[in-house]
């Protein structure tokens, strides 16, 4: 068979594409060695019982022991509450910023980006200091007459939620804001021209158009909350035990790799399951590219 120029060019092009793809190999190799293989090994360990043989005991424990069910329920509760509060607080703020002229909105965005860049640990520490019994929140509230005695707002659920909402808000606001910016405001003019009062124009025109950003942001927040460790560990003060904390204590205190791995696998399966469900409704790129 005679090879034409076109065949040769096509082959060259294919080779070049492969070579270009090869540029990603150092990154891929690193992710493979540091994450994929070890997590695969954890998956394997989760099926090894205390006697060293194959067993489901690590998973059975999650069903039979009430404490494990409570931990999963708590994790879901905290994640849902945080996501809900982030939507309630973040959506109006994003809406406010999206209505401003661009240069003023950019200034307001700094208030969202500054915490985004600031260390998670520093922000958690700040809340710990503010919310403690002799802290600023208590002393100001008492001097304002809101309550009479120092109340416990940290080392419990309240403190955990305050800290987590503060940390997660930028993850919600940024995608919602960029989705809102992309909305053509002429639709709203058209709606009010046709007689819709402002509230109706908002709920039937603006809000539905902003939902892709809202979904992406809420999903991001929820998934991040599921595996969150630092803030609940510090602000929860041992009273709010989440799955990630149980994994750590299983390794650090009990050196029980089987139990820790099984919990980790469950956590991963939940995360992947939620992302998979969500990806049927929206594209993953929206979620990762929506940020900045």
């Amino acid at each position: 068979m005679v090879e034409t120029n076109a065949d040769g060019l096509r082959r060259d092009e294919k080779l070049e594409r492969l070579a270009l793809f090869g540029l990603a190999s150092p990154a891929l190799l690193l992710v493979l060695v540091i994450m994929v293989i070890p997590v695969g090994w954890l998956f394997y360990v989760s099926f090894i019982g205390a006697d060293g043989h194959f067993s489901f005991e690590n998973y059975e424990r999650m069903i039979t022991q009430k404490s494990y069910a409570r931990i999963f329920a708590k994790t879901f509760q905290v994640s849902l509450l945080t996501t809900g509060l982030c939507i309630l607080i973040g959506y109006p703020l994003a809406y406010f910023m999206a209505g401003l002229p661009r240069h003023i909105a950019n200034l307001c965005l700094i208030t969202v980006l500054l915490p985004f860049w600031t260390s998670l640990l520093v922000r958690t520490y700040a809340w710990l200091v503010l919310l403690q019994k002799k802290g600023l929140v208590n002393s100001w509230a008492i001097s304002l007459g809101l309550w009479d005695e120092p109340i416990k707002i940290v080392h419990n659920m309240t403190g955990t939620l305050i800290g987590m909402v503060h940390i997660m808000l930028p993850f919600l606001i940024l995608p919602v804001y960029s989705a809102m910016r992309a909305i053509d405001r002429d639709y709203l003019k058209a709606a009010s021209n046709l007689g819709a009062p402002p509230a109706r124009a908002f709920w039937t025109v603006f809000f539905p158009l902003s939902t892709p950003g809202l979904f992406a942001g809420a999903l991001m927040v929820f998934v991040l909350c599921l595996g969150f460790f630092v803030t609940p560990a510090v602000l929860g003060g041992g009273r709010v035990i989440l799955v990630s904390m149980k994994i750590v204590s299983n390794i650090e205190l009990f050196v029980n790799w089987g139990a820790a791995s099984a919990l980790g696998v469950m956590l991963l399966a939940l995360t992947v399951g939620i992302l998979w469900l969500a990806s049927r409704f929206l594209r993953l790129e929206q979620m990762t590219g929506g940020g900045h």
Binding site: A27, H166, G227
Partner: protein
């Protein structure tokens, strides 16, 4: 004077007065986003163990304690080293991968991209205990190398997203033009493409540094021995009691972060690509 309140505030006929609640709400929320962190700064200069605000007596004792403590200084040094190394590993690897995946339109690119950004979605605890196990086998436990490798995979998704979106708005035909004039592919990349995406590259580098510098969970497991990181020590101190020294460290970290944000803006000025 308050006439503007009666004026329409948006494309619908809503007035500023009807939206006053939104302005108040937004103002309060923006204040709550920023102030709780910033309030640590004056508090760190308080003489009291309880970190008063406003401080009754000012002092720099917590700073003296931080700079005078060998343990804190070594931890800071470890974190700076890890952050810097993560930056110089993750940035080139990530930029090159983003470029390769952007230029090669093979179908498996999508799969590779998803794989490379998974470290952002997988719970960090899981990555941490996996790396812990792997490093025990590889003899990398408590080494800077191991820490940097684990932090690099956390930084890669950010590098890919930031650089990838810059490449999307960059016209690849410019590189074709350079190549048709005789430049080799790598040369076309270095002299034509790279200068135009430099803001994204600088941002990626800064984000990589911060990712490593701020990271707690992986550091908890794979740093230790002679090389605990600053965040690991801070976290352990936080679990026990409210050590005012942390307020001093936090202040320094806030200042450093803000400086980096300003740096990113300065470098970004005049750069065409974003």
């Amino acid at each position: 004077m308050f006439g503007w309140l009666q004026k329409p505030a948006s494309e619908t006929q809503i007035t500023h007065l009807q939206r006053l609640w939104l302005y108040v709400f937004a103002g309060v929320t923006m204040a709550l986003l920023v102030l709780p962190t910033l309030i640590v700064i004056p508090m760190s200069f308080s003489d009291s163990q309880y970190l008063e605000f406003p401080p009754r007596t000012w002092s720099t004792r917590w700073y003296q304690h931080y700079f005078g403590s060998e343990e804190w200084m070594e931890a800071t040094w470890t974190s700076l080293k890890a952050g810097f190394l993560t930056m110089i590993v993750a940035t080139p690897i990530g930029v090159v991968a983003a470029y390769g995946m952007h230029a090669s339109s093979l179908r498996s690119v999508r799969f590779a991209f998803v794989l490379l950004i998974t470290p952002m979605m997988v719970p960090v605890v899981l990555i941490a205990i996996g790396a812990f196990y792997a490093y025990v086998k590889l003899g990398l436990l408590y080494s800077i190398t191991g820490l940097v490798m684990a932090h690099t995979i956390l930084a890669l998704p950010l590098v890919l997203i930031v650089t990838g979106s810059a490449l999307k708005s960059y016209d690849m035909n410019q590189e074709l033009a350079a190549r048709s004039l005789g430049a080799a592919r790598w040369r076309a990349f270095l002299t034509v493409t790279l200068p135009q995406i430099r803001f994204a590259v600088v941002t990626s580098a800064l984000l990589s540094f911060l990712t490593s510098f701020d990271e707690v969970v992986i550091a908890m497991f794979v740093s230790g021995g002679d090389n605990p990181t600053l965040t690991r020590n801070m976290f352990n101190a936080l679990r026990d009691q409210i050590d005012p020294t942390i307020a001093a460290i936090s202040t320094i970290m806030i200042v450093v972060t803000s400086l980096m944000m300003v740096l990113a803006q300065v470098f970004g000025r005049g750069a065409g690509g974003k």
